[in-house]
């Protein structure tokens, strides 16, 4: 996927100790494999199989995805605001491709 499109929604700032909710929406077909396309070819499985989120030196969340996750997968989770810094989102796709995005959280 040349243009990996991820929308990360979260507050730009938070008080230390607050719990912030993070919502992530990615554009991805999540091809579960074995289906037949318009030309009669079998589409191989190609899904995002993992999303990890690191913040302030820790892994704060991981989402292991299988073929039961919908196309254009959405996920939301929470984390505790501890220090100003980037949340690093990393997706792993079948075949080994890795996509990374960051979002900054300012902690007051």
């Amino acid at each position: 996927m040349a243009n990996f499109n991820a929308r990360i929604t979260m507050p730009a700032e938070a008080k230390a100790g607050d719990i912030v909710e993070i919502r992530v929406l990615v554009r991805h077909p999540m091809d579960r494999g074995g289906q037949v396309d318009a030309e009669g070819r079998i589409v191989p499985r190609k899904i995002l199989n993992r999303l990890t989120v690191a913040y302030a030196g820790d892994q704060v969340f991981r989402f292991d995805m299988h073929t039961g996750v919908a196309a254009n997968p959405f996920v939301s989770f929470t984390t505790r605001a501890v220090a100003t810094g980037d949340l690093v989102f990393e997706w792993r796709e079948d075949g080994g491709a890795v996509f990374t995005r960051t979002a900054r959280l300012v902690v007051t």
Partner: protein
């Protein structure tokens, strides 16, 4: 393409079409009884699917707020929200939350890995359901033991189940 109305789902000579299925359904036949080729010949029983993720332990029922529509119009996108009451401290937190759909071609749908950094055990996501079935949530607790909750879901338009 994985859209339910794409030709990918048509696959005419492989089994009864959706129209056949609907007709059969309205004639009062149980859909599950039809020889639909997409289902594995032997389905793993739910108890075994659960035992697989809990290493054989029997989870305790309750303690999970499991939000999922009981009637799903489109199995390709089913919103699920899960919340578990937990202090989420280093000693006492939810380690992970696992979702099983017993009649999906691949029943293990996803796992959310949480930690004390999560602050709350609260997640949501969108899933695919191949057919009407029971969906089970299993949560692993740091102090040992597992919680579970389930829901019977009716799916009117299934996610394309061929090939899975």
């Amino acid at each position: 393409m994985s859209s339910p109305i794409s030709p990918a789902c048509a696959h005419r000579d492989a089994g009864p079409s959706r129209r056949d299925l609907l007709a059969a359904g309205s004639a009062g036949l149980a859909l599950a009884a039809l020889p639909y080729p997409a289902f594995p010949a032997t389905q793993t029983p739910l108890a075994e699917l659960i035992a697989r993720v809990t290493d054989g332990a029997v989870p305790t029922r309750g303690g999970i707020e499991f939000e999922i529509p009981r009637l799903v119009e489109n199995g390709n996108s089913v919103d699920v929200a899960i919340r578990i009451e937990s202090p989420m401290t280093a000693q006492d937190h939810v380690r992970w939350i696992h979702l099983i759909a017993e009649k999906n071609p691949f029943p293990d749908m996803a796992r959310f890995q949480l930690s004390p950094h999560s602050g709350r055990a609260q997640v949501s996501a969108t899933f695919r359901l191949a057919t009407s079935q029971k969906v089970v949530v299993i949560a692993a607790l740091s102090r040992g033991g597992y919680l579970m909750s389930d829901a019977d879901i009716v799916v009117t338009l299934s996610a394309c189940i061929e090939g899975g």
